[in-house]
């Protein structure tokens, strides 16, 4: 076919384009609804007076998603009645400790694997890879036996220490340090800096992009884990956010308003941290996970 397209053809191609646009916009709308509405609904419900929760869940109206007389009473309630403040403080403490220790310990190991030649290096790297793939949730029950045998079950240390060493974090740091030219390190060494000083003053300050990924990863892992805290820190003194939430729904009479409020409040820190460090984090996981170098170079979120 050549020459000027006929009217009918032109109309058809416009119709096809229009249909495509409508389909795409429809899909976008559907996606936004499916992924955002549940989250939105929880926040809206957390701000609703407890007495009117059921009224708006069913039947569905626009009021389901907009609280008509917003109140903070549920959020105050979880703090005053459920001791949620303690759970938040505990979670913040153990997550902060795990992140701080984790960044130092794993970056040191990653540095050794990237920049040192020593006997058994590939064996150690293999061990790290195995630790990276042996998932935490598969060993919770024997880990409980080990920690109890070591005598620190039901302490904060029981929550923190097992989460510090992380094979994936070591791997990400190693990948990152391999890109750093050894000359910089050599120069510091020639100037007489100790290895400790070189690492602390030269290497660590350059690690921020890798560290950002590891911070988000370790924080989300620690803040969001349920299974391990459930068996390792059962006393209410050490209760963390996730177990506090789980306890409410497994209680005989679940209090919806408090559930909404604690779900909303409990998700705030990891979501905020993620939004803050989103770019680094996504680059890190996508690049480190699929090992496609292009991901590391370009990132996803251009």
């Amino acid at each position: 076919m050549s020459g000027i397209p006929s009217h009918a053809n032109m109309n058809r191609s416009i119709a096809v384009r229009l249909a495509g646009t409508i389909a795409r916009e429809g899909l976008f709308l559907l996606l936004a609804m499916v992924y955002i509405l549940p989250v939105w609904w929880v926040v809206a419900s957390a701000l609703r007076p407890a007495s009117s929760l059921y009224q708006y869940a069913s039947p569905l109206t626009w009021r389901t998603f907009v609280p008509s007389s917003p109140t903070l009473s549920n959020i105050m309630g979880i703090f005053s009645k459920l001791d949620f403040g303690r759970a938040i403080a505990n979670s913040a403490l153990v997550s902060g400790a795990a992140v701080a220790l984790g960044v130092v310990v794993n970056s040191m190991a990653g540095f050794a694997l990237a920049k040192f030649e020593f006997p058994g290096r590939s064996l150690v790297f293999l061990a790290v890879l195995v630790a990276f793939i042996a998932p935490f949730d598969a060993i919770v029950i024997p880990l409980h036996l080990v920690v109890s045998r070591m005598g620190f079950l039901n302490t904060r240390a029981a929550l923190v220490l097992p989460a510090v060493g992380n094979g994936l974090a070591i791997f990400l740091f190693k990948q990152f340090y391999e890109e750093i030219p050894s000359e910089i390190i050599e120069a510091a060494r020639v100037d007489g800096a100790s290895w400790f000083c070189t690492f602390w003053r030269i290497v660590m300050p350059m690690s921020i992009p890798a560290a950002a990924t590891v911070v988000v990863m370790l924080f989300m892992f620690q803040w969001n884990s349920l299974f391990w805290p459930l068996v390792a820190a059962f006393s209410s003194k050490y209760r963390v956010v996730q177990t506090a939430i789980a306890m409410q729904i497994t209680a005989d009479e679940a209090h919806w308003a408090y559930l909404f409020a604690s779900a909303a409040v409990g998700s705030l820190p990891p979501v905020a941290l993620f939004l803050l460090l989103q770019k680094h984090y996504i680059r890190g996981i996508a690049g480190g996970g699929s090992r496609s170098e292009t991901a590391g170079r370009d990132g996803v979120d251009r």
């Binding site: 793939i133 956010v241 789980a246 990891p270 292009t294």
Partner: protein, 310 residues
């Protein structure tokens, strides 16, 4: 590369000690403990033996005396434990369905949301957001949404004239609900891997195809999908391993029910350890799960060992 083994050891030591104590040792303990069982009959003599063995690692159960029983925990699981088999079937069904569906949804999202306009980038964040929320919160939220009486989903069904569903209260629907919840939470996470993979495909490949007159859908099918095959298989395998370890939604929403229709292996192992107080059975199940996941992950390592070539 620096040749100073002593410095290297100092840098490595903290991580290696922690990994050894909290990853490798528990895995070994799991296997060791799974070879232990109740010493029967509990006579005075066997109690003395049990006590001396209990001085080993397995004292935590604190229950009756325990002794080395070889593979009898495993034998028992395989030959006369229908609950275990049911649980294994549920776990397999869960991973076998959840993983491909998650990958398909994630791939679809990646195709739809690649690009740099503001709307797409906002939607990417929206889709990723559930992965930042803990599985327990996600489970709680969906539990409320799927409530048979007051839940949002049934309100929606009623609004468009469909009959309300029992969802998590039905042995036929509960597992499917858990799968849907997992897909909702994880698809955005894996979408990011596909987006990263797509960025690695050289633009020239598409330009050449476009010159040859290939349509967008043809380009997706003949260029993007084949060049993404490696990433797809990586995500599929690691997602399967991930799904094998599902615990939080089962613990929070269904307790393995109704009628054990969602009784996954990790939950069964938890019940065995902390409700049934049978550490032998619990660790035998843990060891089997660990072995299965390690096998899957070895496959994963093989898939990712060579650098990607586009």
């Amino acid at each position: 590369m620096f040749r100073e083994p002593r410095a290297a050891i100092v840098f490595l030591a903290p991580a290696l000690i922690l990994l050894g104590l909290f990853r490798v040792l528990p895995a070994a303990v799991s296997v060791g403990e799974s070879l232990m069982g109740l010493a029967t009959p509990p006579t005075a003599a066997s109690e003395a033996i049990g006590a001396s063995i209990n001085a080993g690692v397995g004292a935590a159960a604190g229950g009756p005396t325990r002794a080395f029983v070889g593979f009898s925990n495993y034998r028992h699981l395989f030959t006369s434990d229908p609950v275990f088999w049911g649980s294994a079937r549920v776990t397999l069904a869960y991973s076998a369905l959840a993983s491909p569906v998650t990958v398909a949804v994630a791939l679809g999202l990646a195709f739809l949301l690649k690009g740099s306009d503001r709307r797409r980038s906002l939607l990417r964040t929206a889709c990723f957001l559930p992965s930042a929320i803990s599985m327990s919160v996600v489970a709680v939220v969906w539990g409320l949404m799927l409530d048979p009486y007051y839940g949002l989903v049934n309100s929606l069904l009623r609004a468009i004239g469909l009959p309300p569903q029992p969802f998590l209260n039905s042995p036929r629907q509960a597992l499917a609900c858990l799968i849907a919840i997992a897909v909702w939470r994880n698809s955005g996470y894996w979408m990011m891997f596909f987006l990263a993979g797509m960025q690695g495909i050289p633009r020239e490949a598409y330009e050449a195809a476009a010159l040859d007159g290939a349509s967008k859908s043809k380009q997706a099918w003949h260029i993007t999908i084949p060049l993404l095959a490696r990433t797809v298989s990586f995500v599929l395998v690691s997602n399967t391993a991930f799904n094998f370890l599902t615990f939080a939604p089962v613990f929070i929403l269904t307790k393995g029910g109704p009628i054990r229709s969602t009784n996954v292996l990790v939950y069964e192992s938890y019940k065995s350890a902390f409700i049934g107080l049978d550490m032998g059975r619990a660790t035998a199940i843990s060891s089997l799960v660990l072995a299965a996941v390690l096998l899957l992950s070895l496959a994963e390592l093989r898939l990712t060992r060579p650098k990607h070539e586009y």
